[in-house]
Symmetry: C2
Subunit: 140 residues, 2 copies
DNA sequence: TTAAATGCAAAAAATTTGCAGACGT
DNA sequence: ACGTCTGCAAATTTTTTGCATTTAA
């Protein structure tokens, strides 16, 4: 259980209940769209406004607390900023699963950037396919 | 110069001027947002409607002629479907550059998917950083 | 000739903004 | 107490839809 108060304060953000709830639902689910964040937070904080969700997503992204995960064919999802990793994106259910980065590919990307005189900051690897549980559903 | 008539017909789409212009501006620029496609096509075909751009992006994506390139912090761009490749995305100017995939990383992703029982269809690798020309601008 | 595509205008959906009051520090 | 944050409502932006007309095949 992360300490959201500290996380927010370290990033010059006031620790409001709204923000902590947003971080909490994202952390629990892993990756969420604006709409699903709104729905989930509304359950524990029914008076929250959609505008507050939007404002905070923007703010927390600027502060580096949240990261956008843009997904082909769907709305972007948001995750807590964490170690670089690979996304397995299910094209059936839209679910996103994290897998650790592999050193070998990291080195390749770093070398490529170097060679292109490209100042690399961040990598985003999305692998699109069908997750195990959707394969089972399709088969049946 | 690609033969857009053939490309469209092979994919069960009528070869309209609107479509060929859309494909042409995307091909020339490499990667374009909806808005920039509209602006560019409007220059050679002033009567085109934005709704036509939207309808055709959806259709051509369904037919596999176009591919969406979702980008963190910006609007999605669209490119012609082509061999898998890596995107260098400049966080300053938003430009996207293609670089060939590297076999070593491909194999790693394939192995990872296999191991996770994930039916891999498509890979999308975005490297975010600052392109050479923006580095020069910043330095000056 | 005919099914599909376009363009318009209107509708719907998504996101942003301004501001008064509430709240964290 | 102060400056930031929230929630509301309104505005703006983005995307989709329906329909009459046009067009490619």
């Amino acid at each position: 259980m992360t300490d959201y108060v500290t996380l927010l304060k370290e990033n010059d953000l006031k620790a409001t209940f709204q923000r902590m709830n947003i971080l909490d639902v994202i952390d629990k689910s892993g990756h969420m769209s604006v709409e699903s964040i709104y729905e989930a937070v509304s359950k524990v904080h029914p008076s929250i406004s959609l505008a507050t969700i939007y404002k905070n997503i923007v703010l927390m992204m600027e502060k580096g607390v949240l990261v956008e995960v843009p997904i082909s064919g769907r709305k972007s999802k948001y995750e807590l900023a964490k170690m670089d990793h690979i996304h397995l994106v299910c094209t059936e259910c839209g679910d996103v699963e994290d897998k650790p980065c592999i050193e070998a590919t990291d080195k390749v990307f770093k070398d490529l950037s170097m060679q292109e005189h490209f100042k690399l900051h961040k990598r985003q690897v999305n692998l699109y396919g069908v997750c195990e549980s959707c394969q089972a559903k399709i088969a049946s």
